[in-house]
């Protein structure tokens, strides 16, 4: 019988630690254990043999760290060590005469993925891929992805295993004492993603002994429908004389594991510190216990890299603002590749209480696939909200689903056969929840019955792909009442039926209801409340609208999902003072607003000034003098960094008002000049560079920010293409100043007229002179002064 057939039907046993056993055999700390598959095969064979004799059902091949990154610098390839590792395990099983499965053991790559780390998702995938292929070819029976602490890396590994092998996949993770992965993901988030990716079993390993793991399991059992695997350490590591020891005895280990088994799991074994004696005791004590009964938890859930959002009695808010439709400023941002503007929209909506963010970056004149790739990657570095991927381009859809770190929400599929044929397979493969629009080849039905029929058809079609009702979010389509007053009723009747009769969650793009009417918010809020009462599970709305959010919070208080009205009271009991401050801040002039670092006031004041003054006058008479005042204060040390930056942000808000003003008139302002800035290759510290950027932009320069870890060639090429006069380079480490020097040399050689200013913690004037910089800026204001001098010719 295969592993998949037995999994969940009987209690199965993994072996114990390999690393601990190898250390006992003399493996030096820092030595790659997988090399022993070749050089000390007998030792590995013997360890497998001992575990098989102890009675385990699955042995882990010695391939944990055989990935291309870790084997780099050894005499072997990833494929060689993987193949040999599985072959040795296979030999051990054959010689033992026992029936046991071989797990291709896959551990972490040891590198941090983007956006925090340097490793792009697809490169992580490519690193896991050869292991998976070699492992299956060598005869592994399953793939164990273990000791994982980053859902993104797990996703890369799972996709590599799924797309290149047909092996069953088991994933075990290391949760810390707070029940979270190192990336901050909680159990629900990890489970949501893994169930979406349809792994065969999931669970916990390493980190703790069985006593602590036992406390994590109730939560895990509550949220997962899959078989659970538990491979604890033999207690917490204790350092004795420079060596790590684990002190839980085999009997003690087996005793707690028996309690765990009684409470329900499907597979158990050991991790660091466990020995054949531990596994023997475990098998003896637990072999007659039945595995946990598997039940479908039937949760409708999406997740981000930190947490899950569950659709339930409490409706959810999907923020609609990341969408160019009808927004000229947003369209401009997309055309200018101004991702910061888009990210700001994300952060504002999060602040206002959105639970999920819709992401639509389609515009006919831009490359939507590339834009989707950048925005989804970027957003995952700044917001922990789940994303709703909103596109009709199936390539952009797949790119986003793949790069998404969690269980995504996909917007959307409709009842046209063509749409279902294209979208459902993608949703199934990446485990997305999918928004289903109730329209088809015949258009949008003008009766509730018609829309319900399409909903039913789509539910049936989704089932064919293995997509359950819990993963559908049906949109019964909001049509404006300005073209037909019955429209609201049709939408709501269909919505009610879908939610309460068909038992499927629902969504609506709420604000369409008022299209063509004056004072749209009034109609929107009323309709939103009506829809919530009819069973709207997640409304796509503008969370920046206070009225809409008030309707939402009031509804949650009324329907009882806001227990004891806690949230309602928290939010609204403090709001009595707000009107006063709003009036007050409105009275502040632009100059003062910038000096005092009040962004919102600055924006409002600038708008007001623009009613009577020319934009240039506003800049020259208010913004720049204010910035100068603060800047001088900073240099005289009467103002310190955060205050300078608050003023800079306030000035930026003022400039935004001017930009909008000019854009509305179809005007694009000329900048003082273009400056390229970058943190040099090898260096990942970029806050100093970012501060310089903000200030330079304030003073009217156009800044091309190349980011951090930028190769010299890129700096030179960008400077050349844009014919810039000035390049700013930042380096924080002594070691990376060398790369700064190389970059300067290359710039001087290729573009002798281009000036270079440098800054960064380790730099000094002497050092800057030594490496050939034209200007050393000891702080951010220095760079502004130099740029002003240079460009004022």
């Amino acid at each position: 019988m295969g592993f998949r057939e037995r999994l969940g039907r009987e209690l199965l046993f993994f072996d114990g630690a390999m690393g601990t056993m190898l250390q006992q055999q003399g493996l030096a700390s820092g030595e790659l254990p997988e090399i022993w598959n070749v050089t000390k095969k007998e030792v590995i064979l013997d360890i497998h043999r001992q575990y098989l004799d102890a009675g385990c059902d699955i042995i882990k091949a010695n391939t944990f760290g055989a990935n291309p990154f870790k084997v780099k610098g050894t005499d072997y390839t990833c494929e060689e060590l993987t193949t040999q590792g599985v072959a040795v395990a296979k030999q051990a099983v054959a010689e033992s005469g026992r029936k046991a499965y071989i797990a291709l053991d896959i551990g972490s790559l040891g590198k941090l993925l983007e956006p925090l780390g340097e490793l792009p998702f697809e490169e992580a995938y490519e690193a896991f891929k050869p292991m998976c292929i070699a492992g299956e070819q060598a005869g592994a029976d399953l793939c164990l992805i273990e000791t994982m602490n980053d859902t993104y890396e797990i996703k890369a590994a799972v996709l590599a295993a799924k797309e290149n092998t047909s092996l069953p996949i088991v994933v075990t993770m290391v949760f810390d004492e707070c029940g979270k992965l190192l990336t901050g993901a909680d159990m629900e988030a990890a489970v949501a993603m893994l169930e979406g990716l349809k792994v065969d079993a999931l669970g916990l390993n390493c980190g703790f002994g069985p006593d602590v793991m036992k406390t994590f399991l109730p939560r895990l059992r509550e949220v997962t429908s899959l078989p659970i695997v538990v491979n604890p350490n033999a207690g917490l590591p204790v350092v004795v004389d420079g060596r790590t020891c684990f002190q839980v005895s085999p009997q003690e280990f087996a005793g707690i594991m028996e309690e765990i088994a009684q409470d329900g799991v499907s597979v158990m074994g050991g991790c660091c510190g466990t020995t054949p004696a531990h596994i023997h005791a475990l098998v003896e004590q637990c072999k007659n216990i039945l595995p946990m009964e598997l039940t479908d938890k039937n949760r409708s859930v999406v997740s981000s890299y930190t947490h899950a959002v569950v659709l339930n009695q409490r409706p959810k808010i999907i923020g609609e603002r990341i969408n160019p439709t009808g927004k000229s400023r947003f369209k401009q941002a997309l055309r200018d590749n101004d991702l910061e503007y888009i990210y700001k929209e994300a952060l504002t909506q999060q602040d206002k209480g959105a639970h999920i963010l819709d992401v639509n970056v389609g515009l006919p004149e831009i490359d939507e696939v590339e834009m989707m790739r950048s925005v989804v990657t970027g957003l995952q570095g700044i917001t922990d909200l789940p994303l709703q991927i909103d596109t009709s381009d199936s390539t952009a859809m797949e790119v986003a689903l793949r790069l998404y770190n969690g269980k995504p929400l996909l917007n959307s599929v409709n009842g046209k056969q063509e749409s279902m044929d294209a979208v459902f397979p993608l949703a199934a493969k990446y485990g997305a929840m999918v928004v289903c629009l109730t329209l088809d080849e015949h258009g949008i039905p003008d009766t509730a019955e018609g829309r319900i029929k399409i909903a039913e058809k789509m539910i049936a079609e989704a089932t064919r792909y293995g997509i359950a009702k819990k993963d559908l979010l049906i949109d019964t389509l909001t049509m404006t009442i300005s073209t037909g007053q019955e429209n609201a009723k049709i939408t709501l009747d269909a919505l009610y039926h879908v939610r309460h009769v068909l038992g499927v969650h629902t969504t609506l793009g709420v604000s369409n209801i008022s299209f063509g009417l004056p004072q749209r918010e009034r109609v929107n809020t009323a309709f939103f409340t009506m829809a919530l009462a009819q069973g709207l599970s997640a409304g796509i709305i503008n969370p920046n609208s206070e009225a809409m959010m008030a309707a939402y919070h009031a509804y949650c208080a009324l329907n009882g999902s806001d227990s004891q009205c806690t949230d309602y009271i928290n939010i609204y009991s403090q709001q009595t003072e707000q009107p006063k401050t709003a009036v007050k801040s409105g009275e502040i002039g632009l100059f003062d607003a910038v000096v005092r670092g009040l962004a919102e006031s600055s924006y409002q004041a600038a708008k007001k000034e623009l009613e009577t003054k020319e934009p240039l006058a506003v800049i020259d008479e208010e913004l720049i003098p204010a910035l100068d005042k603060v800047g001088q204060g900073f240099e005289k040390k009467t103002v310190f960094l955060p205050q300078l930056l608050m003023s800079a942000d306030a000035a930026k808000a003022g400039f935004d008002a001017i930009k909008e003003h000019l854009q509305a008139k179809g005007d694009t302002s000329a900048s003082k000049g273009t400056i390229v800035i970058a943190t040099v290759k090898g260096d990942i510290h970029d806050i100093g560079k970012n501060i310089v950027k903000v200030l330079l932009e304030n003073y009217g320069f156009q800044v091309i920010d190349l980011g951090k870890d930028v190769p010299p060639e890129t700096v030179v090429e960008t400077a050349r293409q844009n014919q810039v006069k000035l390049v700013g380079l930042s380096a924080l480490m002594t070691t990376t100043v060398a790369n700064m020097e190389i970059t300067i040399q290359m710039l001087k050689k290729e573009l002798p007229d281009c000036k270079v200013m440098v800054g960064g913690a380790v730099l000094t004037q002497t050092y800057a002179d030594m490496i050939g910089a034209d200007f050393y800026s000891k702080d951010a204001m220095g760079s502004v002064r130099y740029a002003n001098e240079l460009f004022q010719v």
Partner: protein, 216 residues
């Protein structure tokens, strides 16, 4: 982990300027958010230590560094330590670099203060345990100080299994990610007078540094 507000201000370049209510409130918000979001983790192990000339042998690790050799002279044992406050600081810096640059700078400073005090706390427990055995601690010394090359990060990471145990990784250029992290060597000596309170700054070549601390 606790973020020392005074230290945070110092890292921000605060030198007694007027501290308005808005700034101090913002700082408090940032520090509180960072404290709540951080999950500090550390790992350390103790080894035999031998110093001859500029050569140091720490367990199986060989290091060549004059400055470290001076620091470890007379130590028969030494601790290798790695600690991080986790990813929260880096994520918050990214977030606030978009929406509020002042807060981004504050997270940067608060994170630096946070990791320092966290490492101090770990060092205290190492000290206590060492004192019980009759050992005293030398000041901790990190790769990148003086001529103790950053390349030794590779070895320290491998020996301590930093990635697996505490989620700390190295970039191609041997920088740590999460960035608010510390690796260090701490010498243990039986001679009390040698465990002086020498400030790390005194070894640094950047003598015009705003943050330099001397003779305190």
């Amino acid at each position: 982990m606790r973020v020392d507000r005074k230290e945070t201000l110092r890292y921000l370049g605060y030198r007694g300027q007027e501290l308005d209510a808005k700034t101090s409130q913002m700082l408090e918000e940032v520090a509180t958010e960072l404290e709540a979001a951080s999950s500090p983790k550390s790992i350390y192990r103790e080894y035999d230590c031998e110093v001859s000339g500029t050569q140091i042998k720490l367990g199986g690790l060989l290091i060549n560094s004059r400055n470290l050799a001076v620091n470890l002279k007379g130590c028969e044992r030494a601790v290798l330590l790695a600690a991080t406050i986790g990813r929260a600081a880096d994520l918050m810096i990214r977030k606030y670099s978009i929406s509020n640059m002042a807060k981004a700078a504050m997270v940067q400073a608060a994170g630096a203060a946070g990791i320092e005090s966290y490492v101090d706390q770990i060092e205290d427990s190492i000290r206590q345990e060492a004192n019980n055995r009759g050992y005293y601690l030398r000041p901790r010394f990190s790769p990148g100080y003086g001529d103790f090359a950053l390349d030794y990060q590779r070895d320290i990471f491998q020996i301590l299994e930093c990635e697996k145990r505490i989620g700390l990784t190295l970039t191609e250029g041997n920088l740590m990610m999460p960035s608010k992290s510390v690796t260090a060597v701490i010498g243990l000596t039986t001679e009390e007078w040698k465990s002086c309170q020498m400030k790390k700054c005194s070894l640094c070549a950047k003598t015009d540094c705003e943050f330099r601390q001397e003779g305190e």
